[in-house]
């Protein structure tokens, strides 16, 4: 009898152990470390909330926070709208479309590190492909990665390009789950294209849309490889985002306590965005 009650818990114990060791423990340890001054070697010195105080009064941190939010906003808007438009275009299941879809998807399976290197070359001011093309069609060259006003947007282009195929795939398959008879009923109901889109297509896609926006928000906050390889946070810290900032403080300056405090801030930020998102848009999602 007792065993029967315990059995389900025993069954999920291995999975829970993995989550505990690799998810819960690091988070708890990060929270713990954020109250200490530590350089990874010497003794941990408890300093209370000082790391948080330093963080909030730091102008660097404010810039980094701003960069992160700008990056998030740009990449979510670009990724969602482009993948949606592309899916609209590719939703008919033809041989050409299958090929195009596979092509768009290809970058998704390449590692971010390789992609970052490829795009570093593409975006090189003097010898890069992009400027070469711009010159060919008679446009002025762009300082893709060295202009503080452009660099962040260049990184957004790279990450959107990489993720586009995946989001498009999700949208295309979501399109295919909308039954044709709904559109037929709408034709008989004399619905104009905009009404069809607003009343049928959009609501039927809403779970997918919701998922894509949320995963893009979370992914944008975690962006690291492109920054590390293509800009190292520069020029003038214009591409320094929270994830890269944490890495710099943790593993370059060995200020583990401060890095942990920023890590906690990042976690809270993502959490707040997620909850806000669920409370606002999440209510309007139609689940079948």
């Amino acid at each position: 009898m007792k065993l029967a009650k315990a059995r389900p818990y025993l069954m999920i114990a291995p999975a829970m152990a993995v989550i505990g060791v690799f998810s819960l423990y690091p988070v708890a340890y990060m929270l713990y470390l954020s109250f200490f001054k530590w350089n990874m070697m010497g003794p941990k010195i408890f300093i209370g909330l000082k790391n948080y105080g330093d963080m909030l009064s730091s102008t660097d941190f404010r810039q980094v926070l701003g960069n992160s939010l700008e990056y998030m906003l740009l990449s979510v808007v670009a990724a969602v709208s482009l993948s949606f438009l592309l899916a609209l275009f590719l939703r008919k299941n033809t041989a050409v479309n299958r090929f195009l879809q596979a092509s768009v998807f290809a970058p998704y399976v390449i590692s971010f590190v390789s992609i970052a290197f490829i795009w570093s070359w593409f975006m090189d001011s003097d010898y890069g492909l992009l400027n070469y093309v711009l010159k060919l069609i008679g446009l002025p060259a762009v300082d893709w990665l060295n202009d503080p006003h452009v660099a962040l947007k260049s990184l957004v282009i790279v990450s959107v390009w990489k993720g586009l195929g995946f989001d498009t795939l999700l949208f295309v398959s979501a399109f295919h789950t909308i039954p044709a008879y709904l559109y037929e009923a709408a034709r008989l109901d004399k619905a104009r294209p905009f009404a069809v889109f607003r009343k049928i297509t959009l609501p039927m896609l809403s779970p997918t849309l919701f998922f894509i926006i949320l995963t893009n928000i979370i992914a944008s906050f975690k962006t690291f490889e492109t920054i590390s390889i293509m800009t190292q946070g520069g020029p003038l810290n214009s591409t320094d985002t929270l994830a890269y900032y944490i890495y710099q403080y943790g593993f370059k300056f060995f200020k583990i306590g401060y890095a942990s405090a920023v890590g906690v801030a990042l976690m809270l930020l993502v959490g707040i965005f997620t909850i806000l998102y669920f409370l606002t848009l999440g209510r309007r999602v139609h689940y079948r």
Partner: protein
């Protein structure tokens, strides 16, 4: 139904639908080859046939949801080729209802009215009137997913009625309902048709639905019309073996003609008779004079309440006989017989022969 409602829904011109030489194929597969069909205004026309006979395609062509390669479709004499489905003054009830899952019942009914710029007050008045008519008054705020199959069916119907179309198209609207509900909605549809006075075109593979509701039945097989007639005529005077066998449960008995059968036309290859127009004799002497008789083995007996259904195996052909006499005939050797006036004769290719 309240009287005011009746007035608001009838009136206006009723519609006659004409299809002339319609060709339609899906890829290499030809579905319709030169179909000619006329649907009388105000009729309850049922397109009946086995699956794949093209009945749904015809309905969808009338609706404008399906294109056709050649031929002409006109409604009220007007060519429909370039007329959008929404402008044809038709409403359709789909087999799976096709309700908009993100809208509640009210919005589902309202959508078509809104798109046609019916004023708000008029919309709300009409929707409440129709919701009461089909018994949905309490469900207006619910989404389709929270409704039963029967309720969804009613929403689909209400959505169609609200538009006050001159033509109703229905594509197997009862096939997803249980038997009891089906029978009930069948009656409702007959009443509805009488009240609205508009043209109903109804697609089904169920001959019971066709016979019970249709004022005219168009029987189709492989894209061709095999017979088009009122239910009484279709039952009593089938034009071919396909018609004879498709209508009626159990279907008409069709047996090969033989020398032993007295007084039948010489080019008749098959003889048909309805199970209820046949009898069973225990002894050759009991067979009425002039009737054809088939000796066989009584193999099954079904007591159905008012009647008993017998199945007799007559040398490779099985014959059904329906008797309204509750005295059971014992299993064993018997003779199935049918009187001369109850026989129908068919040629070798299954066409009905004129009475000899």
């Amino acid at each position: 139904m309240p009287d005011s409602c009746r007035h608001s829904m009838t009136g206006g011109a009723m519609r006659k639908i004409e299809l002339r030489g319609i060709h339609k194929s899906y890829g290499a597969e030809k579905v319709l080859e030169g179909l000619d069909l006329e649907i009388e205004e105000g009729s309850f026309t049922v397109l009946l046939g086995p699956s794949g006979c093209g009945k749904s395609t015809i309905l969808r062509i009338i609706a404008g949801l399906e294109s056709f390669s050649s031929g002409k479709l006109s409604i009220d004499g007007k060519d429909m080729r370039d007329v959008e489905p929404g402008d044809r003054d038709i409403a359709m009830v789909f087999q799976n209802y096709a309700l908009y899952p993100t809208m509640n019942v009210y919005e589902n009914i309202e959508f078509g009215l809104k798109n046609r710029q019916v004023p708000k007050d008029e919309r709300s008045r009409r929707i409440r009137e129709i919701a009461d008519l089909v018994g949905l008054g309490d469900y207006l705020k619910k989404k389709p997913q929270f409704l039963s199959g029967g309720q969804r069916q009613r929403v689909a119907l209400a959505r169609a009625i609200a538009r006050k179309p001159q033509i109703f198209l229905m594509d197997e609207p009862l096939s997803n309902l249980d038997a009891k509900l089906r029978a009930q909605i069948r009656t409702d549809l007959i009443e509805l048709h009488r009240h609205l006075g508009s043209t109903f075109v109804y697609v089904t593979h169920d001959q019971v639905e066709a016979m019970s509701m249709g004022t005219r039945i168009v029987l189709l097989e492989e894209g061709k019309i095999r017979q088009s007639a009122g239910p009484e005529e279709l039952y009593a005077s089938p034009a071919n073996i396909f018609s004879a066998r498709f209508i009626g449960t159990p279907p008409m008995n069709i047996v090969a003609s033989s020398e032993a059968m007295p007084n039948i036309p010489k080019d008749a290859r098959f003889v048909g008779f309805r199970p209820e127009r046949a009898g069973i004799a225990l002894d050759p002497g009991d067979v009425p004079a002039g009737a054809i008789s088939l000796p066989g083995e009584l193999s099954a007996r079904e007591m159905l309440g008012a009647e008993i259904l017998y199945r007799i195996e007559c040398g490779g052909q099985s014959v059904s006989v329906r008797l309204y006499d509750n005295k059971r005939i014992p299993y064993g050797r018997v003779l199935a017989y049918a009187r001369r006036e109850n026989l129908l004769f068919f040629s070798g290719d299954g066409e009905r022969l004129a009475e000899a």
